[in-house]
């Protein structure tokens, strides 16, 4: 039994622009796999090739053993897509939106009716059954997109930045639902810029930048490998750098000056904290290292060793 999705030297070009630059990865059945990266990293291009709406420029990409191709209806048949943009049908009501989509998947009318009722309950939109789309808030629209993606009982769900622009309540509801689906054995592909989202949902992530995969791994392990356990932030003028670095660097595994802040990264914070107390610096914070630190290190700024 091979992987659910296999990509080898996958490349996507739009004219002269290389959006995805020869990446390889495997996604197992039932896992939640996250693509992280800043805007323009190639995340969306990659997932669009996976769910067969964008042709592969070169390399190979298979989904459940089938080559991904824009005319591959079998892949589309078993995939649910939560798109980045809100692509609901504004001319139709909430229920009509789902009913028409059910048709596209050849779901018989009675069965569709049942699924629509269940799904509206699942995303807590029962009260909006006959509303028009422009009467919904952004959060409701996103939830409706989730419901729409589930109509065909997909084996694979592709969620392309599913919580962009949502308030915390709506975001947490969507996370809940996605976790619920994963628990039922659905394979989940997520792209996101929110590190918390990746940490909440993903078993495994890749960090993409400029079309390439920079790192792959388990979220927490990546943090530990790349950053350590703790981060110390010191807001202090640049003039003090030499003195403070001289004092603290021996206890840290890396440091960095960004704008008004001096960062120290360390695996074990005990010694450096003692030293910090000794130095008695104002404006100092200690916090656990996060995926965001990894992300910034890899995609934003170089770490000075």
């Amino acid at each position: 039994m091979g992987a659910f999705i296999t990509a080898k030297d996958l490349t996507k070009k739009y004219g002269d622009l290389t959006a995805v630059d020869g990446i390889s990865f495997e996604i197992q059945e039932g896992e939640c796999f996250g693509f992280l990266g800043p805007n323009g990293a190639g995340k969306t291009s990659t997932v669009k090739m996976i769910h067969c709406v964008s042709p592969v420029t070169s390399g190979t990409l298979t989904v459940k053993g089938m080559p991904a191709h824009i005319d591959n209806r079998a892949v589309k048949m078993m995939t649910g897509v939560i798109p980045q943009e809100i692509t609901l049908d504004n001319d139709l009501t909430v229920t009509e939106n789902l009913a028409i989509f059910a048709k596209f998947f050849d779901i018989p009318r009675q069965e569709a009716k049942k699924r629509i009722a269940d799904l509206l309950k699942f995303v807590e939109l029962e009260a909006k059954r006959v509303s028009k789309i422009d009467e919904l808030s952004t959060g409701m629209k996103r939830r409706l997109l989730v419901a729409r993606a589930l109509l065909n009982h997909p084996k694979l769900i592709v969620a392309d930045e599913p919580t962009t622009g949502l308030d915390p309540q709506a975001r947490h509801l969507i996370w809940q639902r996605l976790r619920q689906l994963k628990a039922q054995g659905t394979t989940l592909i997520l792209t996101t810029q929110y590190m918390e989202e990746a940490q909440q949902l993903c078993d495994r992530i890749v960090i993409m930048h400029q079309g390439k995969i920079l790192r792959e791994g388990l979220p927490l392990k990546l943090v530990e490998e790349e950053i350590g356990r703790e981060v110390i932030e010191i807001r202090i003028s640049k003039d003090e750098d030499e003195r403070i670095i001289g004092q603290l660097a021996p206890f840290a595994c890396g440091h960095e000056r960004v704008g008004d802040t001096l960062y120290f990264y360390c695996r074990d914070g005990h010694d450096i904290l003692k030293k910090l107390v000794e130095l008695d610096l104002p404006n100092t914070w200690t916090r656990p290292a996060s995926l965001e630190d990894v992300f910034l290190k890899l995609t934003g700024r170089g770490l000075i060793e």
């Binding site: 824009i70 005319d71 139709l92 028409i100 998947f105």
Partner: protein, 255 residues
């Protein structure tokens, strides 16, 4: 061409959304022909005397029938499709389902043709109420069939324009430089035989000219073999425009 029965689902989607616009569009579809028939037919017709032994309205109605089909299906596949593609991103969500890009575009062409048929039928209704009636029931039915062919033709041509259009403004080139002149140079309002020879030749290259000829012949029950040629022109052009329109739209939709 990855066409399937799902084209029909796209048509149904348009039908469901149409519910909300049906009253205004019916009103427009009724007022426009009335305007033509009253101004040209009755107002101007009074000065025109008889055309081939019949009042001018008998000349005018078959031409206006097909040109109203042309207008409706053209505008549906220009503005209607453009809004769905660019503003509503509807196509993006369609092609993520088992509906292919070809299905989606073909469904919209079928829809444009249907809108043309509706306009043409309403026009026919107005004409019948005014007492301008096709010669027989088969002739009436044949006219309806003809409207479908003309609808698909102009919907497909409009699709080609939409596939390369950066914005709404671009459609003006097509409507003002091609569609409007076609309305006046295809013999809808007056016979072409007083035009210089080169203009008559030119009008042969306008699909509407052929549609008007067939429509007028069928309306009065004058079935002659020579009209098969006119039909062939429409049919061939239609198939070509359909294939090119679908291909070019697919190219725009799938990046």
């Amino acid at each position: 061409m990855n066409l399937s029965y799902r084209t029909y689902y796209v048509f149904v989607r348009n039908m469901v959304s149409y519910k909300r616009f049906v009253v205004p569009t019916f009103l427009v579809s009724l007022v426009e022909p009335l305007f033509y028939l009253i101004t040209f037919g009755i107002g101007m017709g009074a000065y025109m005397g008889y055309f081939g032994g019949k009042p001018y309205l008998y000349f005018l109605v078959p031409g206006v029938l097909v040109s109203s089909v042309m207008m409706s299906s053209t505008f549906e596949c220009l503005y209607g499709t453009f809004v769905k593609m660019v503003h509503e991103k509807l196509y993006d969500s369609l092609i993520a389902t088992p509906v292919s890009a070809e299905d989606a575009v073909a469904g919209d062409i079928a829809w444009g043709a249907f809108r043309g048929l509706v306009s043409g039928s309403l026009m026919m209704l107005v004409a019948v109420v005014m007492g301008i009636i096709p010669v027989s029931v088969p002739s009436l039915l044949l006219l309806l069939v003809l409207m479908v062919f003309i609808g698909v033709l102009f919907a497909s041509l409009a699709m080609i324009v939409t596939s390369v259009s950066p914005s709404f403004d671009f459609f003006n080139y097509y409507t003002e430089l091609i569609i409007t002149p076609m309305l006046f140079f295809s013999g809808v309002f007056f016979p072409l035989d007083k035009f210089p020879a080169w203009m008559q030749k030119l009008s042969e290259f306008m699909p509407l000219t052929h549609a008007v000829k067939i429509s007028r012949a069928v309306f009065s029950g004058e079935y002659r073999a020579k009209y098969l040629w006119n039909f062939l022109v429409i049919f061939v052009l239609e198939v070509v425009a359909f294939v090119i329109g679908v291909r070019m739209m697919k190219k725009r939709l799938i990046k």
